[in-house]
Structure formats: C-alpha cells, structure tokens
C-alpha cells in the first residue's frame, strides 16, 4: 500500500517492524511495544531526523542498520536485547503549566 490513514492495525499484528527513521513511525512502533529495526540512509536524510534514531539506539530501544547491512542484521539480531520504551508523561507538563499560569 502507498498511504494509509493509520498503521495501528498493521502494527498490532506485527512481530517485527523495519522502518525508516521518521519520528512518528519510530515512536508509534515503540509505544505499541514492537521490536523495531531502523534503517537509516545518511545520504537522503537531513541530519535532524537521525538525532532521534541515534538516541533511541543509544538507549537500547531499537536496532539500527543501513540498507546494505539489513540482511546481515536480520540474520544476526537478538531482539531480547531491546529495552522497553516507557511512555511519555504529559501529566508532568500539565502540572508544570498549572504552576506557570497560577492554577495550582
């Protein structure tokens, strides 16, 4: 398929996700608790897109590779090394904002 409104259903059924380094794709996948391999193409991507992928990799939440090393990664990967991705906490933002505007 080319474009779908939502990948939620496909994500739910997947055992492994291989994705580009787009933030939305990465975060949506990690939040559903699916193992993720991020394929980066340094030539195509502007630098800032890589920042999140690199950080997620450093924190042990995703595996990284590029197009030429994908097959090798799939053959040798150990998905049990991936750490679960804790959800963000918008409650902390709400608390902060309440203090800022004086709604405490």
């Amino acid at each position: 398929f080319r474009f779908k409104d939502s990948l939620a259903e496909d994500l739910r059924r997947a055992d492994l996700v291989i994705s580009h380094a787009g933030a939305g794709s990465c975060l949506e996948t990690l939040e559903k608790g699916k193992p993720l391999i991020v394929v980066t193409n340094e030539k195509l991507m502007n630098n800032h897109q890589l920042e999140l992928a690199k950080q997620l990799h450093r924190d042990g939440h995703v595996l990284c590779c590029n197009c030429s090393t994908l097959v090798e990664t799939l053959q040798s990967m150990d998905l049990s090394t991936l750490k679960p991705f804790p959800p963000g906490q918008p409650e902390k933002f709400a608390l902060f904002l309440d203090k800022v505007v004086g709604f405490q």
């Binding site: 800032h48 409650e91 904002l97």
Partner: protein
C-alpha cells in the same frame, strides 16, 4: 502540521478544562490537522460538558529548505496575517511546539504585549525529535518565549534557560 499536531494534542491530553476556550492555529496548506483536532476535541467533549474550541488557518510562513530571502518575505506576510487574528483572540497563554506557523503568531503576541494591549504567556515545547539541536523556530523562540521546554537532557545542557521535564509526549 502532521507530527507537530500529534505532539501538541498529546501535550493537551492531561490539561483540565480550565484551559478553555482553546484556539487552534495551523497552516492553510495542512490537510490532516483539522481532522486530528476535531477528533481530539470530540473525545474531550464527551468528558467535559462545556468544552469550547475554535480553528483558524494562517498562511504557511516558510517551507522546509526555503531560501532566506524569500523566507523573510513569506514570514512578514504571515505576521501581517497573524496580527489581526491574535488581536481578535487576545490569548492569555500561547502553547506552541515548533512549526513555522507559530513564529508569526508569537511575534504578533509580543507586539500586542509591547503595545500594552494584551500580554500573553508564551510556552514553547520543542519537539521530541529534537535531541541534540533545536529547530529554527526553537532557536528564535528560545529568546522570546516565557518558558522553553526541551525533552532531552543534551538540549538542557546546551540551552540552560530551558526547562527539562523528561519526555512529555
């Protein structure tokens, strides 16, 4: 636009109904945000009975990679457009997270503050995608916002006046 809208709706998800009415401003070229916002507000109105919100579109101030000279022109045009809108809305609080759309609105709000017409609190939340560097909007609004929130510790180190609450989306 897109990811920015998703992020900002997540930021709003835990806010109580005292943050009302909500005025959403987004780019005229944005096709998907309106649907996302309406869906969010629909669910919200099921929880809170007197939920109010409005939607306004503004001309997009700058496309990614647009040249400097033409960016100045399009941004000025966006400011001219945003000024009457911001004057009409007279917000108490402006919450933004980085699309080019937010800079003209914030500049308008700053002008209204300088002219003693309305002083808004400007809270900027940099996108979760920004781990090591700020977006262009972030670099500008770091100096002009009242509160500048980052979501990764590297940025807190580089921009000491920022607020770090961890990941909030």
């Amino acid at each position: 636009t897109g990811g920015h809208t998703t992020e900002i709706l997540r930021l709003l998800s835990c806010l109580p109904e005292s943050y009302s009415p909500r005025h959403y401003i987004f780019a005229d070229s944005d096709k998907m945000s309106e649907a996302k916002i309406r869906s969010f507000e629909q669910k919200r109105s099921e929880r809170f009975s007197n939920s109010q919100f409005t939607l306004d579109r503004v001309p997009r101030s700058r496309e990614v990679g647009q040249s400097w000279t033409s960016s100045v022109v399009t941004t000025l045009y966006s400011i001219l457009y945003s000024l009457p809108l911001t004057y009409k809305l007279k917000p108490d609080l402006i919450l933004c997270n980085g699309p080019g759309t937010c800079v003209p609105v914030c500049i308008s709000a700053l002008l209204l503050g300088l002219l003693r017409i309305k002083r808004a609190i400007i809270v900027y939340v940099e996108s979760i995608c920004r781990v090591e560097t700020l977006s262009l909007s972030g670099k500008i609004l770091y100096y002009f916002s009242d509160y500048f929130i980052v979501q990764w510790p590297d940025l807190k180190e580089k921009y000491p006046k920022s607020v770090y609450l961890g990941r909030i989306v």
